[in-house]
Symmetry: C2
Subunit: 399 residues, 2 copies
């Protein structure tokens, strides 16, 4: 009782990404550290037009309190998109608008997780999810992911030995690794969890950002009874409006609405109206094509430079979409040590450590390619290659 703060807040890891981003504000620093969509691609004029139309159309109703489930028309649009583009039938009543996908994670943690219940999480996994779920103090059960997806044998072991309640996945262009689960891997994962009570959270903020390869089935199709799906407008339109959604059947939906009310009553109605108007008046598919063209080229440029400049024993993933790739240094180098050298060479990235539960001095690092043009990517990777060489020399001397 004499402690000031709750036990739960002590368990939440602070993001040192914040500290990195401060370094990245220096204009001389090339940053592969961010997790931001490219601001040059925001449909700024279109959103301005949409905003004007919202003022005309809805008048003062856009300013009033609104319902916790979210703007009806926007929910109908999302439902229609699932039907038309993915042939998945999602009733409007099963869609809750959230203040970004991040809030979806908080609400799911709130309604599902008791202290010490098992939560399977990808290793490496999304830092924001680790933070959101840490609040509810589950037992994290990391299961490795690699190029093809999740390690199904380790998944089966975790399910058998810990009877976990929930599982968190980003099967498309995962943050931080950029990998996607193959079709076979998705089917294998679905087989493990089907028939169990495990709740699978399929977080899909990047799904639309595919610049190569073929779309793969959602867990909502492969394991419909187990899957809760999260979506977002942050990567496809703009992140600053904080708009995402959860797809969940009754009775989960009913609990989510209770939690949403208790948490912030409802998501900003005004920005929901603007996004809806934008979606009605403009061709979102064409806009996403534009994003994917740029991100695809920048990803290729990064892979090309990695191949050209990095020592041969540094490996990397080959993303089919999204905003990140993942590189691994050879033994015994630690990405944290590389970071210190790289800052001096005016290039930054995110060392892998925060994406693991209880692992430090890992050899991995996240490289973001969405916000840096192709020429700058080459310069940045050259600088990073130089830092790797310096680190290897130093390490050689130490041994």
């Amino acid at each position: 009782m004499d402690k000031v703060f709750s036990d739960r807040i002590a368990d939440v890891p602070r993001s040192f990404i914040r500290e990195i981003l401060k370094v990245a504000l220096d204009r001389n620093v090339i940053s592969f550290a961010g997790g931001l969509p490219n601001r040059e691609l925001f449909p700024a004029d279109e959103l301005k037009q949409a905003t004007e139309k919202v003022f005309e159309t809805y008048g003062r109703d856009v300013f009033q309190y609104s319902n916790s489930e979210g703007f009806g028309k926007l929910r109908e649009y999302i439902s229609a998109q699932y039907r038309e583009k993915k042939n998945i039938d999602i009733p409007v009543d099963n869609i809750l608008i959230t203040s970004g996908s991040q809030q979806g994670l908080d609400l799911l943690g709130k309604i599902f997780l008791n202290e010490w219940e098992g939560l399977i999480i990808e290793e490496p996994g999304y830092l924001g999810a680790i933070q959101a779920f840490s609040i509810y103090r589950p037992m994290f059960l990391p299961v490795p992911v690699s190029d093809d997806g999740m390690d199904v044998i380790k998944l089966q072991e975790a399910v058998n030995s810990h009877n976990p309640k929930m599982m968190y996945t980003v099967p498309n262009f995962q943050n931080p690794s950029g990998i996607s689960y193959s079709i076979k891997n998705r089917m294998d994962v679905a087989e493990v969890i089907q028939g169990s009570k495990l709740i699978l959270i399929e977080d899909d903020p990047y799904g639309d950002l595919r610049f190569s390869g073929e779309a793969k089935p959602s867990f909502k199709e492969l394991a419909p009874d187990n899957t809760v799906l999260l979506g977002s407008f942050s990567k496809s339109i703009v992140p600053g409006f904080r708009l995402g959604w959860i797809v969940a059947p009754e009775p989960i939906m009913s609990k989510l609405v209770t939690a949403k009310q208790a948490t912030d009553l409802h998501t900003t109605h005004f920005t929901q109206c603007i996004i809806y108007q934008y979606l009605m008046d403009y061709d979102i598919d064409k806009h996403i094509e534009k994003i994917n063209h740029v991100y695809g080229n920048q990803c290729k440029a990064m892979l090309r430079s990695i191949k050209k400049y990095f020592p041969g024993d540094v490996t990397s993933t080959t993303p089919e979409g999204g905003m990140f790739l993942w590189a691994e240094l050879p033994e015994p180098l630690a990405a944290l040590d590389l970071f210190d050298l790289a800052v001096k060479d005016h290039v930054v990235f995110v060392p892998g450590d925060p994406f693991y539960i209880n692992k430090t001095r890992t050899r991995t690092m996240r490289l973001n390619f969405s916000c840096v043009d192709e020429a700058t990517i080459e310069t940045g990777i050259m600088r990073l290659a130089n830092a790797i060489n310096v680190l290897q020399e130093k390490n050689g001397q130490a041994m």
Copy 2:
């Protein structure tokens, strides 16, 4: 482990206010049930102008991810207002922008409350706070409030016997009762908690909406070491933008920022910019005067009609501001029974029950006067008086 949902979500009361509001959608029904600011008073044109200026001034930066603490200029404005209008010194670094005050409650529950720790709450108290804190499963310790404020003897007893961690108050024009703590009562409350480790949450969403009487000192002045202050633009400008703030010193602020990141990363940057632009370009004091003129007249009209039409043994509070008053039926009438009769007479209100912890069939009710014009208020109170008479007759027969 076989339960689907967390224990904490089972403890959150669902609001039957939602159900009432559905009835209130019928145009023939006069509603004193809502908790909404009057939409006719929203500065719609001014916000439209401010929005256009934001597009011009900030360009695409308004669409990007932003920092968890909130928009710097808006936080500076809030800090300056406390200094200029209330002579309270609040450093900018001690202000966190939240997605409405409701989110402030969720974040404070997150960082402070362990299960079963004591939480003093006003009786009757704000339903949204009961919902928000229920998530974190405290032991609620209701302390009665009446015309002058909190029952200080009962407060002292609760502090002595339960060593509570936190206390939640709405000292100005409380929701649901409309009462305000007198200066003496504030000083008495401050004396009880000063020197203790009790965290006092002073929720002040209505503070600016004073239409009679004099402003009273904040607990932030009377018990500065214990007080965390919450503010909101929902009642003074618009609620739909979901913008509020928390004032808290280090190290509380640091924990709040961690919790905010884990919960939704940050509050919508776009709406923060618009509100800031509105505050720069227009006279908010003049706008608030306009609101207070209307609410003051409507409150007077309601009190006048209550005196004229209600049976003499129905009592009510006399608010100096805000949006609500509180009426109490004589023994043995229950407000829930009155509600059923009132709906038939096409008038609705909120029966008092949801504003109590574990009390049902109370005699109290919340009447909202912000959204109904003076003539309609008279008609509505007449209908309600008729329903009270019918209930008293019925009750007489039953006895």
